[in-house]
Each structure stands twice: as C-alpha cells, then as structure tokens.
Symmetry: C2
Subunit: 352 residues, 2 copies
C-alpha cells in the first residue's frame, strides 16, 4: 500500500475499485480502462459521430460527449469512464483556433512565434470560462453514470499544448517547438505559464463538475532531451498537481522513461507508462512511490484471443500490485472489439 495524503481519504475509502487503487489502497483485483475507449473502436460511437459535421461540433455538444463517455462502460465493462473531449480545447479557449482534419489530425492556422503572439493569448479563469461545454458534459455524464464507475477528467500537459501551439499541428520531430526552447527560453516559459494558469482553472472546474480523478497527457514528452524536460515540463506539471489536492492525479508522459525518477516526486498518485517501459524498470525508477498505470502494447490487441490473454496475464504478473491496467497508448481505432473485450475480461477475471 502507498501512503496517501489526508485529502485523498475519500478515494481510499471509495466503493470504486479504480479510485481505491489510484489512492494506493489495496484492491481485490487491478482496475482496468483504456485510453481512447470512448472512440472509433465502438460501433455505437461511430453511429453517434455520424450525426455531426465535424469532430469539434461533436466535442462541443455536451449530451453527445456524455453519451460517448458512457458507451464503453456499457459495452466493455471497464472500471472508469473518461470524459470524451480533446486536449486542444485549451489552446482554442486561449484564443488559438484549430481545425481537426479527418485522418490527418489537428492544424492551427495561426501559430505562436513571438512575444506579441504570447501577449495576445487570454489565460486563467477568462480562458477557462470558454470551456463550459466540457463542464456541462461532465455534469450530464456524472448524473447519467449514477455512480456506476468513477469519471476521469483530463488536460494536456503544458509542454504538449505548447508543442501544438508553436508547431501548428502534429509533427515527426516538433523541431519548431523544440527550437523555441533553445532560441527563446524566456518566451517559452511565459507561454508555458499562461497554458498552466488556464489548465489549473480548467481542471478545478472539471473537478467541481464531477471529475473524480484528473489525468495529464504529456504526449510529446519523449521529444525533449532530459534537461529540457526537467526545465520546461516538470515544473508546470508540479504546479498543476499542487493546485488539485482533493482528487487523485495521473501523469502520463509518453516517452519520458528518462524522467521517471523525477516524476515519482510529483504530488500525483499515478504514473502512466507507455509500452517501451518494462514494469521492472518503472517500479525501480519510481521506488514504489506511485501506482503505475499501463502498459500493454496496443498492437497486442490485434493478435488472436489466446495471445491477448497470455500477454495480458504476463503484464499483470510483472506489475504484481499497485497497478491500474491500461494500454501503453490510446487504443488504435481499427482494433477488433473482440480483442478489446478479451483484454478487459482477462483483467476482470484475475485476482491478486
């Protein structure tokens, strides 16, 4: 068992397996959910999605977002729901609009290049006030879930949001964003602080709207050299975790194996792991200080059912305890539903 702070006593005593596990309490089996479980793997999601002209219209319709959030709970029997949304609603709320291009990903017509661009951005409570559709979706979901499973809220980590705002979209190297850290370090910190200020209010509002746990996605952590990750990402994760003492927090920094020791000192309870990291390495690097979440290779779910069961059991055994089961990345949209079911069922029928 991992020591938990006083404000997390509620989670420790929760009736929900997922919250107890996240707070470091003993559970009868590990809880399981999947990143991107509210998505294209489900036929009912694809049917719901067809009602909207584009992804953003879908995200901005609270009733639809709530329905997408609950679908995997009904269909797969996972132990937590995660609010259907996108990390890029934050830059948009700050005044930097984006387009979501089907099968390609996001694109920002305007990017952040200089001090003037940073000064123009709104931040904090003012920016977060533009995200009422997310708070509304959380409230509807919470009501309709009727306490069946806990509800996860989330946001992108400041470095990852920064990367999109400077780069203008996805990228193989994020070299424009990384360049700014070398060429304009002070401006970089100013932008990261504005993103952080907004994210803190945004996440506090999510908690007030019903989120039981908050996950931070640092999707582009692995693009940074270790010294830059320490300087330009970790301090902002720290600020956010400190600002949300009343709920458990999960930090998922994809590719940041090199920062695990440092992340283990954050005031969060759970560390998400990608599929490159062995459970043995992660346990050692975090010195048993955190609950670990992950980390089956999403591609394992393309295999036949006996292979999925075998790989899932191998992972369960390697973690042993203080574990929340997930994949090492969001489930890929073309994953067969039977593979996902086999993964969830193997965990649900397991014992510690």
């Amino acid at each position: 068992m991992i020591a938990s702070s006083a404000p997390l006593a509620a989670a420790t005593e929760s009736k929900h397996l997922f919250l107890r596990a996240a707070a470091g309490a003993a559970t009868e089996r590990p809880p399981v959910w999947l990143m991107r479980q509210a998505g294209r793997i489900l036929p009912q999601y694809r049917a719901l999605r067809a009602n909207f002209p584009d992804f953003k219209a879908f995200v901005k319709t609270p009733e639809a977002a709530a329905e997408a959030t609950i679908q995997p709970v009904d269909e797969l029997g996972v132990d937590a729901a995660i609010i259907f949304s996108d990390i890029l609603v934050v830059p948009e709320a700050m005044g930097l609009d984006y387009e979501m291009i089907e099968a390609k990903g996001p694109r920002f017509p305007q990017v952040i290049e200089n001090q003037h661009d940073v000064a123009k951005l709104i931040s904090g409570a003012e920016a977060a006030s533009h995200l009422t559709y997310v708070y509304e979706a959380l409230k509807i979901t919470k009501r309709e879930l009727a306490d069946r499973v806990p509800l996860i809220g989330f946001a992108g980590a400041p470095w990852t949001i920064f990367a999109y705002m400077v780069e203008g979209g996805g990228s193989k190297t994020f070299s424009k964003a990384r360049r700014m850290l070398y060429s304009q370090p002070e401006l970089s910190h100013a932008l990261l602080q504005k993103i952080t200020d907004t994210t803190i209010v945004y996440l506090r509002n999510q908690v007030e709207s019903g989120a039981d746990l908050i996950q931070l996605f640092d999707s582009w952590a692995g693009e940074l050299p270790p010294a830059h990750y320490s300087a330009f990402s970790v301090p902002y994760l720290q600020q956010i975790c400190e600002a949300l003492p009343e709920v458990p927090k999960t930090v998922f920094a994809k590719g940041a194996w090199f920062a695990l020791e440092e992340l283990a000192n954050l005031p969060c309870q759970v560390i998400g792991l990608d599929w490159n990291i062995t459970p043995e390495y992660a346990k050692k690097a975090t010195s048993g200080k955190k609950v670990l979440q992950g980390n089956l290779d999403p591609c394992a779910l393309y295999a036949d059912i006996p292979t999925i069961e075998k790989e899932t059991r191998k992972m369960l055994k390697a973690f042993g305890s203080n574990h929340i089961v997930n994949l090492g990345h969001g489930v890929y949209p073309d994953t067969p539903l039977d593979g996902v079911r086999a993964f969830v069922q193997t965990v649900v029928s397991s014992e510690w």
Copy 2:
C-alpha cells in the same frame, strides 16, 4: 581504451582520428561528423539536387552521390564522410519498389501482407546485385577523397526495413508492422531473415568498394516493446555484425534506450545514441564496453552561437572519453549553416 579484436588492428593504427576512436583507441580529441551532413543544410547540395527530376534519380547517379558525399568534408571539415544514399534501396533491390514524395517521405505502392508476398521477394546476393550504383558511388568517393577522411557505409537495420515494407511508408505508430509481429510471428521472422541475408551481402560489397566503417540505422527501434525488440531486431543485428569482422561497426537504434545493455553485447564497436539518453545513463548501461556516438539535440543548432558552443562543451564533458561526436538524430534540413559550423569547430578545437 576499449579492447578491440585482431581484425580491427588496422583501424586501431589508422592515421584517421575517426577510425582510431571507433576501434576504441586513444585519440587527441573526439572525432566529429553529423548524420545527414550530405544534405539540404549545404547550398552546394541543393544546387546539385536541382539537376535531378527526383531524389531516387539522384541516389542512382554514382558521380552525383559521390559529390554529395564529399561536400560536407570540404565545407565543414568533419572527420568522416558517409555515402550519400537511402536505406530504402534495399527493399527496392528485393523487388519492392518505392516512391519518394517531396516533403512527405517514402511510399510503397505494394506492401508485404502474407506468405505469398514474402516468397516473391528476391534476397541475398541476387538482390544485392541490383545495388551496383551504390558500390560505384563508394569507389568514386574513395578515389576522390584520396584518404583525407574515412568513408562510412550504411544500411537500415532489418526491423526498420521490415517496418517500411509492411507499413508502406512512414507512420506515427507503425501499427501495421507491429501488428504482424503479434499476428504472424513466423512470417515476420522469415521476412526479417530475407532482409538480413540481403543486407549482409550488400554491406560486404560496400566494404569491398571502400567503406571503412559500417553504420546500421534502426530508426524505428523505439516503436517496439522491449521483448519484441529482443526477439525481432537484436538477433538480426547480431548476424550482420558477425558477417563483417574486418571493419568497425556502429549500431544506432533510435529510441531503444531499454535495449542498451543488450546492444552492448553485440559484436560492434560503436553505439549511436539519440538525444533522450544522457551520457551518464548510456555509459552505465553499456558498462564501458562500447564507444558511444552522439548525441546533441539537433534543435540545439538553431540557437545562437554561444549557446551552441556551451551545449556542445557540456556534452563533450559528460561523455569524457570513448566518444564520437554527432547529433542525436540527422541534422534538420533547415538548420543554419553557421550553427553547424559552430558545433564542428567547438569539437575540433577541443582537447581531451
């Protein structure tokens, strides 16, 4: 000093700093070169490239490839030349044609999906015989270099070539290629062996045509979970290294921090490092058994000159010895030439 095998005595006693360092011998300063130094960073490369309708026609013209190879030696004063070519000439020689789409990357109109596709591929000496334009380019380069600096030959690692042949091009996740490892492991091994058989003859021919050292690029190493990297990449790297006893070999497995201990047992002399890995971690993981090559963040070269000098010196100090200086990835095409010069000059004027 690192113990070197008898066949490498020639490298140990070479007049060339780069070969002596690669063989683990003491040198007065670390040698320096850059991955992708023969490329768009040089105005003379862009002028030469303009003579060809497409990238592949350029690669297949030995005189032009030789000229591109020598340009950075003249312009930057680097300690080694690397033959101008592409790792995808190997699948093409095996019968799987590709297109290089400007600013996008490679695309294979046909991909490998089943046993029939693998059976159709030619391999070994027959496939390698289609690559005479590379051998010719090496011979011309070797003659024109007139022993000024050593010449590096290279190939993609079998897993990386496999990834392109199954995926059909670059990808954010390489999920099709990774899926095959789970769903058709025997077929995967058959394909990897065919690629390996071809690569061995191809690289032997490169050595006979004048290559002084061979580098293997495992660009997509970091996409695999550790157990798959051990099963589907390392054994084929081992076969290739064993087949080339007379020259020093470098293995650059991008993202494979988790496999460093295993890579340190390969019969190669040098391990290339990406910019995620601290010199301290790499030295510990390889137990001082290998010369380490790398690993400044390519984005550091976008900074002002004093910052580049400072970051380069910091890296030199952290490695200390048994080090070949390079970036942690290929130099980005839009890097200012003055930044590249500052990087090279800082190393050239350094002392151990």
